[in-house]
């Protein structure tokens, strides 16, 4: 839930001590350097698998076992879509993520608005439900939805994946929008009403622009969580495959380089989107 929050974190406030250079020096001395080195070690550790994923997409491997470096090749990038099942799984992942994101925004945004704007009976209950949804182990959420489908005799597949993913994504959109509502200025809505704007016009011209950054952030988060989701999806997928499910199925036989290439594309796309959203947010607030 925190994935998209940090880039929006406020810019560094000047540390109070920086006005007095001598004290800053004293506060910074030994731990500063050790901490710097440690931070970079941890970052390299975190990013190591990314390098491995990208590099082994260029590995000239002979069989399906892609464990040892056997020389550079672009062959597998050329045969990116040569495995029909894998291509189908990737397409499923993307279309499911798009549908789930749309539904989650439609259903989650109003919940976030209600929680951020009104005091009402049942608010505490709503909070508890949202909190339980975030706090519950994913495997239990997946198992619970699966149990409902088993009990009702509903076969699992594409539709049940969408239903299950929307169930947890709504909550993340609602929480993100609610956080945005903290800075919501209700007097603007009242002013619009006083000036004769109807309910819909007020929403479209006054309310929506104010909450839009929250909706966009929630939507991006929902998309990221959906395309990456493994546990809840696996429980409710039946025979349908998404990209993570295909990779999971392939681990025992060996993951072909095309998987690395597709992972690289998803990675690059995600990074690009995140950087763009930060830049746009910065330009807006500037």
């Amino acid at each position: 839930m925190t994935t998209l929050a940090p880039p929006a974190a406020p810019e560094a406030r000047p540390v109070a001590g920086e006005r007095a250079p001598s004290r800053r020096h004293r506060l910074r001395q030994p731990r500063g350097h050790l901490g710097h080195v440690w931070t970079w070690i941890v970052i390299l550790w975190l990013c190591l698998p990314i390098f491995v994923m990208i590099a082994f997409g260029f590995n000239n491997t002979k069989g399906r076992l892609n464990f040892q470096w056997q020389g550079f090749t672009l062959r597998y990038w050329g045969q990116l879509f040569a495995i029909p099942d894998l291509t189908g799984a990737l397409i499923n992942s993307v279309t499911i993520a798009l549908i789930v994101t749309g539904l989650s925004i439609l259903l989650g945004t109003p919940i976030g608005m209600a929680l951020g704007k009104y005091r009402f009976r049942g608010k505490a209950l709503t909070d508890v439900v949202l909190f339980a949804n975030v706090a519950a182990p994913e495997i239990a959420l997946g198992a619970a939805v699966l149990s409902l489908f088993i009990t009702l005799g509903i076969p699992r597949g594409y539709v049940t994946i969408v239903i299950a993913q929307v169930m947890f994504d709504i909550v993340y959109v609602a929480i993100t929008v609610r956080a945005r509502m903290a800075s919501f200025d209700r007097s603007l809505e009242e002013a619009a009403r006083d000036l004769g704007a109807g309910a819909w016009t007020t929403f479209r011209l006054v309310t929506l622009p104010q909450i839009l950054p929250g909706v966009v952030a929630g939507g991006l988060l929902a998309f990221a969580l959906s395309i990456d989701d493994f546990v809840i999806t696996q429980f409710n997928a039946g025979q349908t495959l998404t990209f993570p499910l295909w990779v999971w199925g392939a681990t025992r036989l060996g993951v072909p380089p095309q998987v690395n290439d597709m992972g690289t594309i998803i990675f690059a796309g995600g990074v690009l989107l995140a950087v763009l959203s930060v830049l746009i947010g910065r330009r807006r607030s500037a």
């Binding site: 560094a12 439900v129 998803i266």
Partner: protein, 288 residues
């Protein structure tokens, strides 16, 4: 409809569509899970509600090893995340300068690689004859039989790796929010560096650590991806059992019983924990 009535109804109308979805596909399924766990029968002849509580006893006595192992792994991994992540959050918050956002971005970079694929990459890296171990063995620096995969270490390291950013970010938020003037004041009052940390920084960052534990402990305990990809037969966690019982063996009541116990244990723990600390605080820290 009067304006006041409309205002009173507004929050309910806003919540209704999403609330229905959550009621049908989140709240009711938990009841369905409990109901299914009390069924008896099998896939061929069907399942019937018989309120068969004995399933719980059987399953717990059969799989208590995996249950305990999951909580032990989760606890060690969470402790490791605090030990590794706290200094990182501290350094970025106090010494990150104008590059704070850039450092945070680097920390969450792995999230842009699919969870399963990230773990598979570690399998690549740590394979018995892979790029690291294979090379060291060829140089004669490690005995041929040495392995990392299929050990406790591999699974716990995998859990630590995969959830670490969720620990660093809330600690960072708590440290970043801290009034830096307090540190000034403390050192003006002749506290040395260690005292400033122990008596000012640490207590103020505790909510962040708690939020981090909340975000990492539950997914670590209930994970089965790391144990499956990086572990062996002796590293099986409760998540692996549940997954196997549901999706491979179709032993639905048994699987449902195990899921229910796992969920109840973790959720009750989390609610007590959150009540003690204040839910609002945790939700606000965790959503940045």
């Amino acid at each position: 409809m009067t304006l006041r009535m409309r205002a009173r109804l507004a929050p309910y109308l806003l919540i209704l569509p999403g609330g229905l979805w959550l009621a049908i596909f989140f709240v009711i399924p938990i009841i369905a899970l409990l109901a299914l766990s009390l069924d008896t029968g099998n896939l061929i002849n069907g399942f019937r509600e018989t309120f068969h509580v004995a399933t719980y006893v059987n399953q717990l006595s059969q799989y208590h090893t995996q249950f305990i192992r999951s909580f032990v792994y989760g606890t060690i991994a969470t402790a490791a995340m605090i030990a590794i992540g706290y200094p990182v959050a501290y350094w970025i918050a106090f010494h990150g300068g104008t590059r704070k956002s850039a450092y945070l971005f680097l920390l969450i970079l792995p999230f842009f690689v699919t969870f399963v694929l990230r773990t598979v990459s570690w399998q690549f890296l740590l394979a018995d004859q892979g790029i690291v171990l294979g090379t060291l063995k060829n140089w004669g620096l490690l005995p041929q039989g040495f392995r990392v995969l299929s050990t406790n270490f591999a699974v716990i390291a995998g859990l630590t790796y995969n959830f670490l950013p969720y620990m660093v970010l809330p600690i960072y938020v708590a440290l970043e929010r801290m009034d830096k003037g307090l540190l000034e004041a403390a050192s003006d009052l002749y506290a040395n560096r260690r005292e400033v940390f122990r008596r000012v920084v640490l207590p103020l960052s505790i909510p962040g650590v708690f939020a981090g534990i909340l975000l990492t402990f539950v997914p670590a305990v209930s994970d089965y991806v790391n144990a499956e990809i990086l572990g062996g037969v002796n590293q099986v966690m409760i998540g692996n059992i549940i997954e196997n019982q549901y999706l491979v063996n179709n032993n639905y009541p048994q699987a449902a019983a195990l899921s229910f116990v796992l969920m109840a244990a973790l959720l009750i723990g989390v609610f007590i924990y959150a009540r003690a600390l204040g839910t609002e605080d945790i939700l606000s820290v965790s959503s940045g």
